[in-house]
């Protein structure tokens, strides 16, 4: 009951605060200026796979161009300790690895060694992949795993963020994010350390177009 009264009181206050702030904004904002035209910002469509791979390496990631899912499986087994918990959203890998449950408590993924998920597309200029929660399996997955592996189709590499936002459009995701490399920090004397709070490594598998996964 007491709690209810406090909340009610605050609600009234916040109404007045809202009016007060909006009033001050309206009073103090200057005469309107126009939005610039940004349609001329576009990237170069040539050599996107090579450009992407080069940039991704410079930001501390590893990228492989693979022919098909079997080739990817071989590389995964060579590069990671798959005896530890490995999770995925890819139906093609469900025989080998655990499928991520969208409804499990996110805390239960704390011991994930490797997560293998697909991305909608990636950006050649900055190395980042675009993921929404639907392809993550769970929001926490690409952040909590020790190692992150992401699969993209070679056809889904675009030049810059301008094309990226065109592709994303309004989007109806609850959560989405660009991820461009393993987590990193340089907070101690500017020394670069890979693996701050998120994954220690990030690997991208670029799937040859004929064998596009999705």
């Amino acid at each position: 009951m007491k709690n209810g009264i406090i909340r009610k009181k605050r609600k009234i206050n916040s109404m007045t605060t809202r009016e007060k702030i909006l009033g001050a904004v309206l009073k103090n904002q200057p005469a309107t200026t126009a939005l610039p035209d940004i349609t001329m910002f576009r990237g170069d469509n040539n050599d996107l796979v090579k450009k992407y791979m080069d940039v991704f390496k410079t930001i501390g990631g590893t990228a492989f161009l693979v022919e098909d899912i079997e080739a990817m499986k071989t590389l995964i087994n060579e590069s990671f300790d798959t005896a530890k918990r490995t999770v995925t959203t890819l139906p093609g890998l469900s025989e080998s690895f655990e499928l991520i449950s969208a409804t499990a408590d996110p805390h239960t993924y704390d011991d994930v060694e490797l997560a293998i998920i697909k991305a909608h597309f990636s950006v050649a200029e900055n190395g980042a992949v675009w993921l929404t929660e639907e392809v993550m399996g769970q929001r926490i997955i690409p952040y909590i795993c020790q190692h992150l592996a992401v699969v993209i189709n070679a056809d889904d590499i675009i030049p810059t963020l301008h094309e990226a936002y065109e592709k994303v459009g309004a989007g109806d995701y609850g959560f989405g994010g660009f991820i461009g490399g393993p987590s990193k920090t340089a907070d101690i004397e500017q020394a670069l350390v890979l693996g701050a709070h998120g994954p220690l490594t990030m690997t991208v598998f670029i799937m040859n177009n004929q064998h596009a996964l999705f």
């Binding site: 605050r10 309107t32 926490i140 909590i144 991820i179």
Partner: protein
């Protein structure tokens, strides 16, 4: 926040520059980041057009803020995010407290947020029994050392690794003498992972808020914002009113500029777009004024609200690099801090616009083209006009104005100056004259330009 606020920039900088080795290191480390920014920006042929577009978008937002706030609020609500408005730092802190209290949460994890530093949120909550842990590594280090961040992007750039090793030894039980950055980071990773896993409440800042979709974007390299947010029951975002942008495709402009300007990276590792709460989660967003509408009303200074907090102006500033962020005694340090702070408290921050050579380098690197150095100059005029300049400064300026007001006075003053420096230098070069701290005067010429010119004219 624990830092003495009574001391001015010059005094605090004076203490910082005593350690010459540290100053040289600090200067070099920041200049290196400035160089990385240059390399990154030069790889984009349309860089200057991007800056211009970003600047125009932000000008447009500032001039239509009322409309965009309403649109953003409406879309947040549609997305299921609970919206709060805070007029002041206190009101912001009260709101955070009441949200946590309602859920009986007494431990919260926070990702980097300069706004909550500005509001003194940690202290406020701790006084009320709520423990807050800063999860950005640099901010965590500053928190355990009971110091505010000295740089908005690199919170502990003024510290050496041995000092950090000592702090970890004391607080995290690492071996004495351990100072390897990778090993220290691993220890922090382990410690903070446990924090993320056990905190029901998480708070983040906001880099960009999109009016047309009611989503907000948080940029980090460490992944700490996401670790906190996606494991929390209650997620809170605090943002200043000025963080709005009209459309989602504008993010293409800002995200191309932000990390390149900040550290020379092509993009931060994580650019997270938060739009709706996770099933079973509660999401709150607090819109904070705390002086921003006042700054909006100051025609000469409102463009400071365009800042996207990249820190490029700090990395390039010769005064910042040599005096250290803590000497600015304000949450936002460096050149941008020096034009934001006087709006919050002109008397307390009257010294900051003087912590500049007005060289203009800050304005040249600013990704949204804020005329920082011109605003610094304008704040000086404002501060003198309002009577907040120190006595020595206003007396000096009055003397200068009197001297420069007639050619006769100027000539006599010049003669006197040269005579003093030549015959009795100890009268000016002594410990009572701050100019001579770590500085020398060039040798005074025997005659003035006018005297030389007149002689030359006669000869010819």
């Amino acid at each position: 926040m624990s830092q003495a606020k009574t001391k001015d920039h010059a005094t605090l900088a004076g203490a910082f520059i005593k350690d010459e080795e540290r100053v040289d290191w600090h200067d070099g480390a920041l200049w290196y980041i400035r160089e990385k920014r240059d390399i990154a920006s030069k790889q984009i042929p349309e860089w200057e057009d991007l800056r211009e577009a970003a600047s125009q978008i932000k000008s447009h937002v500032i001039s239509n803020l009322h409309e965009y706030l309403l649109q953003f609020e409406e879309n947040l609500k549609k997305n299921g995010i609970i919206v709060h408005w805070a007029d002041s730092a206190e009101e912001h802190n009260e709101i955070v407290y009441s949200i946590l209290k309602a859920k009986e949460i007494n431990q919260m994890v926070k990702s980097k947020s300069m706004l909550t530093e500005e509001c003194g949120l940690n202290e406020y909550l701790e006084e009320r029994g709520i423990e807050v842990v800063n999860s950005d590594l640099g901010e965590y280090i500053q928190q355990i050392d009971n110091e505010p961040p000295s740089h908005i992007v690199l919170p502990c750039i003024h510290k050496r690794k041995e000092e950090i090793g000592e702090l970890f030894h004391e607080h995290l039980g690492t071996e004495k003498g351990l100072s390897d950055p990778t090993l220290l980071t691993r220890v922090a990773r382990k410690h903070l992972r446990n924090i993320f896993l056990t905190r029901r409440g998480a708070l983040t800042g906001v880099n960009f808020a999109v009016a047309e979709t009611g989503e907000y974007v948080v940029c980090t390299n460490e992944g700490n914002a996401d670790m906190g947010a996606h494991l929390s029951e209650v997620q809170i975002a605090s943002m200043g009113l000025e963080k709005l942008i009209p459309q989602k495709n504008h993010l293409g402009i800002f995200l191309r500029l932000l990390a390149r300007s900040a550290t020379g990276q092509p993009i931060t590792i994580y650019s997270s777009h938060y739009r709706k709460p996770r099933k079973g989660q509660e999401m709150h967003l607090i819109l904070v004024d705390a002086g921003r509408t006042r700054q909006l009303g100051r025609a000469d200074f409102r463009d400071s609200l365009k800042c996207i907090k990249c820190g490029a102006c700090m990395n390039t500033c010769p005064v910042y690099r040599k005096s250290g962020g803590l000497s600015y005694h304000n949450t936002i340090t460096g050149p941008i801090g020096a034009i934001l702070a006087p709006n919050l408290d002109m008397r307390k921050h009257a010294d900051l616009p003087y912590a500049s050579t007005l060289c203009g380098s800050c304005s040249n690197v600013c990704p949204v083209k804020i005329n920082i150095h011109e605003q610094l100059y304008k704040w000086r005029q404002e501060i003198v006009k309002e009577g907040y300049a120190t006595k020595a400064k206003s007396l000096g300026m009055k003397t200068m104005a009197w001297t420069l007001s007639s050619p006769g006075k100027f000539t006599t003053a010049g003669k006197a100056g040269r005579w003093f420096l030549d015959k009795v230098p100890f009268v000016v070069n002594n410990k009572f004259n701050p100019w001579y701290k770590q500085r020398d005067m060039p040798e005074a010429p025997k005659e003035s330009f006018e005297e030389w010119y007149n002689k030359k004219e006669k000869k010819d």
